[in-house]
């Protein structure tokens, strides 16, 4: 069967000039699309890092204020307190712990929900881990204050020992975050 007889293909008369124009037009469209896509991806990554940075900054600002309150509370330990003053000091520590626990949980949720470029996932993960450890430390402070309130001082001591360990884990996680962040930024520059 001869297809040419049955199929009537349209005749296309293309001269060289038209072909060249078509090729150049196609190349221009592809170039524009490529540049546009690159710009879009770059914009997206930059804005995602900026968003992550804003969230870390908000977390750090809140933690800075909390840190000031905690340090000031630690310095306020009276030298020869009455039992009522000891109790008031521990209740204040418990209140700060509850606030710290809520604050770290809040920022952890926000930062963990950030969609960051792949290079920043290590930093994001380390920072959320730091907040988790801080959250655990504050939870144990809160438990210690509760145990103290029931005069279970040994249990309060055990909780605080656990909190100190969680705090050390937090410091390690913050160092990891710093290292991961430097790696991400140096990788980006390179």
């Amino acid at each position: 069967m001869n297809l040419k007889k049955h199929l009537k293909l349209p005749k296309i008369n293309v001269d060289r000039r038209d072909a060249l124009v078509a090729v150049l037009a196609a190349a221009a469209v592809i170039s524009i699309a490529f540049c546009g896509w690159t710009l879009f991806v770059d914009y997206t990554e930059t804005s995602r890092v900026a968003e992550f940075s804003r969230h870390v900054a908000a977390s750090e600002a809140d933690l800075f204020l909390l840190s000031g309150d905690i340090s000031s509370h630690m310095r306020s330990r009276p030298g020869r307190p009455s039992i009522a003053e000891c109790d008031a000091w521990m209740r204040e520590l418990g209140a700060l712990a509850d606030y710290g626990r809520g604050l770290t949980s809040y920022h952890r949720q926000i930062i963990a929900a950030d969609v960051v470029p792949e290079a920043y996932t290590g930093a994001q993960s380390a920072y959320t881990r730091a907040l988790d450890n801080l959250n655990r430390a504050f939870s144990l402070w809160s438990s210690a204050a509760g145990a103290y309130d029931t005069k279970a001082y040994s249990a309060a001591n055990n909780n605080l020992a656990g909190a100190d360990r969680a705090w050390k884990d937090y410091i390690t996680a913050i160092s990891d975050y710093d290292r991961e962040l430097r790696r991400a930024e140096e990788g980006g520059e390179g």
Binding site: F64, S67, S71, R80, C86, A130, K168, E185
Partner: protein
């Protein structure tokens, strides 16, 4: 203009709307719906109202004490403890060992202890007399009769208190100072607690020293090494301070003569451990458990951020 000219325009607008409202937020992970987490606020602790003082004119236990002071003189005094205060202490569950300083420093006992301490050791303007004041308080407590916690004779009511702690066949019941004053007797920890309460009311820095099976007081002194002591005063360092061992119960009684009920006592001075050996656990009266780690480290922000 016809419909076929308007439809592409409308379709284009629709595409732009879809891109702006759905595609872009999805690509940039912007939340489209749903509330985010709520930021917590600091809630200060609720202040605890001050305890209502016990009425002066209410029913009270009256107890008389007779003791020999350091100068050999015999003294007597009367102590009045409101019944409501005594009942309150009896109905309070006993604490963890580390919290036993709370008994000595109980706010409700404070006025009674302060008054009693000033009667046992009247204030003096002579600094050299301070040692005699201190020893008079120690002697007073050492001469209160000893009684085991698991003996019903040890308690005014003649029965073991509800919150006595049972350890095997033995009972343990650390008393508030005013409980010991009303019962008129107590064991080693009760004496150490009463002595701590009285001395704290006079401004001395004390701790409880818990040996296996025994408890004594530790009194903070910079240096105590009297020339007349025929022993090496025992002390323990805690929190950068030196606390000397003080017995609360081992008053060495001897009968004046065979068959006589009259007795003479020889008190144990500061630093004399008698038959007590070992290293004690030190229990401060004012105990505030605090974390060692509490400094939040600042974290660097990602470059190109806000």
């Amino acid at each position: 203009m016809e419909w076929k000219d308007i439809i592409p325009v409308l379709a284009g607008g629709l595409v732009i709307l879809v891109v702006a409202l759905v595609v872009k937020p999805a690509l940039l992970a912007e939340p489209v719906t749903g509330p985010g987490p709520t930021k917590p606020v600091y809630v200060p602790p609720t202040p605890v109202p001050a305890a209502t003082p016990f009425p002066e004119d209410g029913p009270a236990y009256t107890r008389n004490f007779r003791w020999t002071a350091i100068d050999g003189g015999v003294h007597t005094t009367e102590v009045r403890v409101p019944e409501a205060l005594f009942s309150k202490h009896r109905e309070t569950p006993r604490f963890d060992l580390l919290a036993w300083g709370r008994y000595a420093l109980a706010e409700e006992d404070r006025p009674i202890l302060k008054d009693l301490a000033c009667r046992i050791a009247p204030p003096t303007g002579n600094p050299e007399a301070e040692y005699f004041r201190l020893m008079n308080v120690i002697f007073f407590v050492q001469q209160i009769p000893y009684a085991c916690d698991d003996s019903t004779d040890s308690y005014t009511e003649g029965v073991l208190p509800r919150y006595a702690l049972h350890r095997g066949a033995e009972a343990e019941y650390p008393r508030y100072p005013t409980e010991m004053l009303v019962d008129g007797r107590g064991d080693c920890e009760d004496s150490a607690i009463l002595m701590a309460g009285l001395l704290d009311a006079l401004g001395y820095d004390t701790v409880l020293l818990k040996y296996p099976g025994h408890m004594v007081l530790g009194i903070q002194m910079d240096e105590f090494n009297p020339y007349y002591a025929k022993y090496t005063p025992k002390y323990f360092d805690y929190g950068g301070k030196r606390y000397y061992h003080v017995e609360g119960t081992d008053f060495a009684w001897v009968n004046v003569s065979p068959g006589s009920t009259a007795r003479l006592g020889k008190p144990l001075p500061i630093g004399d451990t008698g038959s007590t050996t070992g290293t004690p656990e030190i229990i401060p009266l004012r105990y505030i458990p605090a974390p060692a780690e509490y400094r939040i480290r600042p974290a660097r922000l990602p470059a190109g951020g806000a």
